[in-house]
Symmetry: C2
Subunit: 269 residues, 2 copies
Amino acid sequence: MLVIGENINATRKSVAEAIISRNAEFLAGMAKSQAEAGADFIDVNVGTGQLTQAQQVEAMKWLIEVVQGVTDKPLTIDSDVAEVIKAALGKYQGERLIINSVTAERERLESIGPLAVERKAWLVALAMGAEGIPETAEERLANCETIMNYLTGIGMAPEQVLFDPLVLPISVDSTQGKVTLDTLKQIKERFPTAKSTMGLSNISFGLPNRSLINRAFMVMSAYVGLDTVIINPLDAKAMSMIRVADILTGADYMCRNFTRAYRRGMIVD
Amino acid sequence: MLVIGENINATRKSVAEAIISRNAEFLAGMAKSQAEAGADFIDVNVGTGQLTQAQQVEAMKWLIEVVQGVTDKPLTIDSDVAEVIKAALGKYQGERLIINSVTAERERLESIGPLAVERKAWLVALAMGAEGIPETAEERLANCETIMNYLTGIGMAPEQVLFDPLVLPISVDSTQGKVTLDTLKQIKERFPTAKSTMGLSNISFGLPNRSLINRAFMVMSAYVGLDTVIINPLDAKAMSMIRVADILTGADYMCRNFTRAYRRGMIVD
């Protein structure tokens, strides 16, 4: 499973402040620590409500330079505004990248889809439309169909699509763990060459011991075939569990990554 | 998921010594602590190589009385010797019970099967024959077929059968996690009313951080539909993970067991 490091996200207060005050040291440190902890991609998000779109464009250009200054890891350019993504692509020098994200909404597909096609980027596709996260696997699948039809129609390879089956809290509806996993399973069956990703933490909203619940949900998702996961790579227990999930699914041949991580003292119980 | 407490097993040196020296206090304490920690069944096993069959019969009768003296929890009578099981059944006063175990070997089916039928016990059925644990899911399934055919033929209800898909170490063969989970999945499909159980710990043989690996494997097994698990109930992290698995699969309606365990301070990260 590949890890997308989620920490540089302007919905966090400390990150928003660092972006607004152009605190390069703070954000470079976040990029570096995530890379060192084993992130395969570094997510960059400047979407704080305090900035206008023009300010977000400038902030994103600056942030891409800051992050690229300290790590060669590929980036995940995280915005729902095409102009911000475009600006990021102008600055980003790497070859591999993820754009995060589109939904089944026509306007987002039309504005962001072509950018991903042109740059041969992977594109996160949330299994939702304008009405928010559907409660059933069937409705989520229908959104995935809409997205895949549009994107392949404009020249994207199915392998570039990273479907996110989406997660609602089990504290509100006990069946939602199963709904997400069923959605993921059906995505894998319906689009065998497409990839998948997930932000896990919504599953445990409203419950105690959230990180434990998130880790267990990640393990189940790994069994179903989750390809990438959006988490905090500095969470050593979560990262350890990813290594363990990989040996159990057979993804880690001869347990080599696991034993290497163990020797470096990176497996935490 | 139901928990079978595995601790009173004579393959452990301290347990063997306590059985031989008739240290009732030690063994009663083990029964009590497992019951208090949330075990649904208490496994009792006197199979130490140091005792003759006649001595095992006497030891089992004594042990059943000791355990029943301190807990009302149902027992899992664990032996591959019909005479030992028969002696245990003579002493055991509970209604619910598990007999552990048979294999596809004709002789064990013929000697132990009828005892389970007569007592309406659940019967653990290992998916193996005389040649040991098969490497493939197909061979394990074939053993389950043999077992189910025999047992239903002598009057057992399929609901009484607890299939164990069996576990080989992933350190030896990276595909074995998947083989066990595939076997479990196929057992659930082929025998939808039968139950399942598993001793997990073999999965992590030869690797570091074994309990972490075992817990993750338990979570994947829960997703596939594991009904009962044979573990040490005093392992608070494992017990916590079982509660978490149950909320994620939707087995714990409204997360009630989980929140109750949390309030008692029994959820450990």
